[in-house]
């Protein structure tokens, strides 16, 4: 077991290295000169050269890449002397447009993304699993069709469209909700909840749609299994049969999916955060892309990839605990 995990970790590090290299290369060759970006409005060629050397942009590709990598573990210093800027480890880069370390920027925005992800995840698990179960148990009935049609719609509806629709209906027309505001839970719990409700709903809708389809397939699959017949033949109560025998085999595979999706969201729900003005990692990404703040884009890309890769490992480990066939070697 330990060896398997270790091997997975090594592979993950490899993937992350590749992703960072790939991202770095793209920006190295395709992106406009970051020095010119930083130089901003009142720029001279001399000043550009200064910035280039300060940022190490005049170094060859591999040295720059190495600086970036080592910065993550040891931190790094830009420039020299009194004008030097230090970026403490783990340094994912330094944004010269905002004069902040990318790590700090991401950390500062993480709570919003986490709140968004946790709330949405709770909603979509509830709706997705509930809907999928209902649909599977009432297979072929009106309920099934209603849930599955809603799910198909959920998959087909772009979330920015849903966001606009909800905002128009619930806030502008019906005035059931106030405009979303950036308050913390402690400041005003009600307003906090009201402000997050729409983003949660919008984000959860698409995922719930997807999950209900998958849960339905899994449950129907499980219901057709021989062991379900055995359970019934034992004379168990129908709810017990469903709860104990159908649910666990149907939902265990969902864990894998959920882990990946949740990790993906921690890396920022780009569109939802942008549309609702939530200052999370996704918004940071969108803003940085608009400003072409290259170090931030690099940092976020890498973080998002790392989250997915780590989630992948965690999910695999969790899976072995949930499925005895993987956990216990056969005799």
């Amino acid at each position: 077991m330990a060896i398997t995990i270790l091997r997975r970790l090594l592979a993950a590090v490899g993937v992350l290295l590749l992703i960072s290299l790939f991202t770095f290369m793209i920006f190295f060759w395709l992106s406009p000169d970051p020095a010119v970006q930083i130089c901003g409005k009142t720029c001279t060629p001399e000043r550009i050269d200064q910035i280039r050397s300060q940022l190490g942009l005049d170094l060859p590709f591999w040295q720059q890449y190495w600086q970036f990598l080592s910065g993550i573990f040891t931190g790094r210093t830009y420039g020299e002397g009194a004008a030097a800027i230090t970026c403490a480890a783990p340094c994912l880069g330094f944004s010269f447009q905002t004069n902040e370390s990318v790590t700090d920027m991401i950390v500062a925005r993480m709570p919003v993304s986490v709140t968004l992800a946790v709330g949405a995840a709770a909603l979509w698990l509830l709706a997705g699993i509930g809907g999928g179960l209902l649909s599977a148990v009432k297979q072929g009935t009106g309920w099934d069709r209603a849930v599955m049609t809603t799910a198909l719609a959920g998959i087909s509806l772009p979330n920015y469209f849903v966001a606009l629709l909800l905002q128009y209906l619930l806030v502008v027309q019906l005035r059931w909700l106030p405009f979303p505001q950036s308050v913390t839970f402690t400041e005003d719990p009600l307003l906090w909840f009201q402000s997050y409700l729409m983003p949660w709903l919008v984000l959860a809708f698409g995922y719930a749609a997807m999950y209900s389809r998958i849960v339905r397939t899994n449950v129907i699959d499980t219901l057709g299994q021989n062991f379900m017949r055995t359970a019934k033949a034992k004379g168990l109560d129908a709810p017990v049969v469903l709860r104990r025998h159908a649910l666990r085999p149907s939902l265990t595979p969902v864990v894998t999916l959920f882990g990946m999706d949740f990790a993906g969201l921690l890396g920022g729900a780009l569109i939802t955060e942008t549309v609702f003005g939530l200052n999370g990692v996704g918004k940071l990404t969108a803003d940085s892309i608009a400003k072409n703040d290259q170090p931030v884009i690099m940092g976020v890309t890498l973080l998002a990839a790392a989250l997915v890769v780590v989630a992948n490992i965690l999910v695999d480990v969790t899976y072995t605990y949930l499925d005895p066939r993987v956990r216990v070697k056969s005799a």
């Binding site: 299994q225 021989n226 062991f227 017949r229 055995t230 359970a231 019934k232 033949a233 034992k234 004379g235 168990l236 109560d237 129908a238 017990v240 104990r244 025998h245 666990r248 085999p249 265990t252 499925d323 005895p324 066939r325 216990v328 056969s330 005799a331």
Partner: protein, 286 residues
């Protein structure tokens, strides 16, 4: 392999009819109209006796047993009459049938691996069956479970009770299924091709085990198989089915020695005659 044993033991209880099935018809709706998968089947099972139902796959033999259990797949309807100890089973609510299942009629299925839930220990799966009908504490249930495992000759039962199905071999799994069925002391045991998925030596062990257990408990049994040779070893009465119809019914002796239906003759002709079962059968006749 003792073929006479069950017979002698079953005699004291014979005569009290355990199960009477009359004019049982099972229909399924399809896009091209309803299809009868079992047509007008009638048979009886005496306490302590074994009825063998023989037929190819799709002949309706499994549907017959599922109809008795009240577990027909979605859409299937059964008409006619199924009486257990004189009580009509057809038309009962699912709730009432649940008390019949396991408690009065238990079933052992063909594929022991897929018939056990891979996510739970075998112990838990037997215990839950026991507790569903007898209530009681988990401790009692566990004790009964271990006893049942011991009865089906699983070595080291008190340890193995906490193992998962995939940790057992095929034969062992079928023993577990049998233990699960027997721990409830049912009046009727339906064994639906219990040995088909097993290799020959294991198959023999399981048959022997079933015979021993039947002798101990006096349970009536329906043994479903496509294998006439097996039927000849276990059943007193035989029912042959083809395409949902009952083509032959009678005592094992009658059927094997003097088959009336052409289909039965064909089946018999197809039997391997490495060692002629009929000689043996004749030898053990009353």
């Amino acid at each position: 392999m003792s073929l006479t044993a069950p017979r002698t033991i079953s005699i004291p209880v014979a005569g009290s009819t355990l199960l009477e099935v009359d004019h049982l018809t099972v229909t399924f709706p399809t896009s091209s109209g309803p299809v009868e998968v079992v047509k007008d089947a009638s048979f009886r099972v005496e306490s302590g006796d074994t009825l063998g139902i023989v037929g190819e796959s799709g002949s309706g033999k499994s549907m017959t047993s599922l109809a008795i259990m009240g577990l027909l797949p979605r859409g299937g309807t059964a008409t006619g009459s199924i009486r257990l100890n004189g009580h009509e089973l057809l038309g009962r609510s699912d709730r009432e049938m649940r008390r019949v299942r396991g408690d009065k009629v238990a079933m052992v299925f063909q594929d022991p691996l897929s018939s056990l839930n891979p996510y739970y220990t075998v112990g838990l799966q037997i215990e839950e069956a026991y507790r569903a009908h007898n209530g009681g504490s988990r401790r009692d249930a566990r004790r009964v479970t271990i006893e049942a495992l011991e009865r089906v000759r699983i070595a080291d039962a008190s340890r193995r009770v906490d193992h998962y199905p995939h940790q057992f071999s095929g034969g062992m799994r079928q023993r577990i299924m049998i233990a699960m069925a027997l721990c409830l002391e049912p009046d009727l045991l339906i064994a639906d091709e219990p040995t088909t998925a097993l290799d020959v030596t294991v198959q023999a062990q399981i048959l022997e085990l079933l015979a021993d257990l039947q002798r101990e408990t006096g349970t009536g049994m329906i043994f479903i198989t496509h294998d006439l040779a097996v039927v000849s070893q276990v059943a007193q009465d035989v029912l042959v089915m083809k395409d949902g119809e009952q083509v032959e019914a009678g005592t094992a002796e009658q059927v094997f020695s003097n088959p009336r239906a052409a289909y039965t003759r064909a089946l018999l002709a197809a039997l391997p005659r490495i060692d002629d079962p009929f000689d043996e059968l004749k030898g053990t006749s009353r």
